[in-house]
Symmetry: C2
Subunit: 213 residues, 2 copies
């Protein structure tokens, strides 16, 4: 009968796809995001056209690859956010989880955050096409959580989305810089960022004689 046949086939190609993604992963981890399709195909023991059949084009492959890692990272962050403790502790745990992840595997992180652009550019320039997909997704995800757990009054939906993207951006930029310069311990960075979110910027005093801030 052909229906279970079809299912077998479907599963087979999905397995194949998974294998290819794992090979691509190895190459990207080794060579960075600029890995060529040829190199990836070679690692998988095959040649280019098969990759193209499975993933359409390079950005397709990279999207699939990014999804895997993003899903994994999001899981980590969610469990950190769901720990049963005070809000500040949860926020710090989440920041820490993110920083731990990018510290442990900077190549993956670089790949996710600075992807090679699609560059099809269909019509003029579509701004939404040109942003790091991980950033956006994290932002939306955080926005959802904020919106459903915090009482932000009217306009809360909008506020939550702005905050979601803003916080994720803060975390990303600070993490990026920290990873490059290593100016302090991870725990320090987490504390500093939490302080910022907790309004210490607004509360700080001016330096006497300065034009003020």
């Amino acid at each position: 009968m052909q229906t279970s046949q079809r299912l077998d086939q479907q599963q087979a190609t999905e397995n194949r796809r998974r294998e290819l993604l794992e090979a691509a992963d190895r190459v990207v981890l080794r060579d960075g995001p600029e890995a060529s399709m040829n190199a990836i195909a070679a690692e998988a023991g095959i040649t280019k056209p098969i990759l193209y059949r499975h993933f359409g084009d390079k950005s397709g492959l990279y999207r699939a690859l990014a999804k895997r890692h993003t899903d994994a990272l999001l899981d980590n962050l969610r469990t950190a956010l769901d720990s049963r403790s005070a809000r500040r502790d949860r926020v710090e745990a989440t920041l820490d989880a993110y920083l731990t992840a990018i510290e442990a595997r900077p190549q993956v992180y670089r790949f996710l955050m600075h992807p090679t652009e699609d560059a099809d550019a269909e019509k003029g320039f579509d701004t939404r096409r040109y942003s790091a997909p991980l950033l956006r997704r994290l932002g939306e995800e955080l926005a959802k959580i904020i919106a459903e757990r915090l009482d932000l009054g009217p306009n809360g939906e909008e506020l939550a989305r702005v905050w979601g993207h803003g916080i994720v951006g803060m975390m990303h930029a600070a993490g990026d810089w920290w990873l490059a310069e290593r100016p302090c311990e991870r725990g320090q960075l987490v504390a500093h960022l939490a302080d910022l979110l907790w309004g210490r910027l607004a509360a700080a005093g001016d330096v006497p004689g300065s034009p003020g801030f």
Copy 2:
């Protein structure tokens, strides 16, 4: 005499360089950051090798181009930060200046924020090579201002740097998302972000029955 000669010549090549940069600017504004060296050369009415003589390689040209725009943007932000008013007003003015800039010229913004990577990758992967130069520079600049104007106690230097990069990242990510989705007016976005920096996240109440945040 050769000394004034030398000066004339030097100025001449600098003028030429400026012309080339302006041509490159036009192309990048038209075609986006993926503009080819050929296209830029054509726009300037010349051919590739001259570009390479002036700028070394593509990333050299792009660095020069980015510097112009970054300088201009930084000027705007600085004057916004220097306005004589309450801290919150100044912060909002700065956010607004940034958002106005990226709104007015999204192509420039895209070029600055999502640059094509250097990818020489000398030794393994040097993380600091792979980040948007504008973000870093803005972060450092803001850190300097924060450090010199706010009294942050011991560790203030480090705190200021973390905050500088964090705030810039927040502004960037939120702006990026806002530019793509246009979920609200600019003024709204500014207010929301300022609220976040002013600690409203910490102060908000839990939704009753939620796992908390």
